[in-house]
Amino acid sequence: MKTLYTLMIVGALALSGTAHATPATDALLAKYKAEGVTKIDAAKGKADWTKSGKGEDGEAISCSSCHGTDFSKAGKHHKTHKVIEPMSPRANAERFTDEKKIEKWFKRNCNDAWGRECTAQEKADFLTFLLAQ
């Protein structure tokens, strides 16, 4: 009974956390689970957001270097200064609506910031964290 209760709470939390889920993010999260992700941790996604990896040209960058930490505001590319539309789905309705696009940018940006691709676990954490913003 206790286990069932815990499961229900976890389920409710997961649901509330993905309030802005889209068909694209549902499909991706299902894919990450199929790749072995069992427990999604939005807090880990939050911590990783500001974690910088290997420095390119001596410059250590993290997700927040370009996207910022206020997700309702637009960010700015650290090199080209190009405006990056807000990450929050509340502020930017187009955000997280295209599965291919999400994967493309995960691949590029993880490589740029950390010098490697992100794991399914990391992507699931990021996505869940961002959807709740």
Binding site: K79, T80, K104, R108
Partner: protein
Amino acid sequence: MKKTTTLLAVLAFTLLGSSLAQAEEQTLLEAIFTPFRQKEFVPVTNKTYQDECGSCHFAYPPGLLPSKSWEKLLTAQALPDHFGENAELDADTLKEIREYALANAADKSYHKRSRKIALATENIDAPLRITEVRYIKRKHHEIPEKMIKGNKDVKSLSYCDACHTQAKKGVFDADTVRIPNYPDWDD
């Protein structure tokens, strides 16, 4: 009366001709018979090119570099390290962008500025940066460093559209230049 009608007809034809010519690349024959020589660049018309390149930086009209440059820049091997950034594309997207850039490269264009770039790069190794092209350097060389590098709203020649207000339309004429923080600058 007849004279006026003829004049109007000629004028209309000329305007139509030049606006059509602006939209896409001409054939050699069309280029020769265009009443006004096309000075500028062919603007970007391919949506994939505009979206993919333009999501990180100003989508440079392909006529700004010769095809030998685009050939080096737009490959599956080169894009993961695109001036220090990962710009990987899936195979289909890359193919479309590469073909568009190659078909509209400086040496394939009859527009004046593209011709000059094609000539300036003809006998040298393919430049990878537009800012390395001799013609581009020469065109900007009288502008003091403080207005570009030292200007917080410009920073580098790479940001064409920081000053060239019509860059999106392929127009780089001096009359369309507004340098941020230097409103009094005049060519």
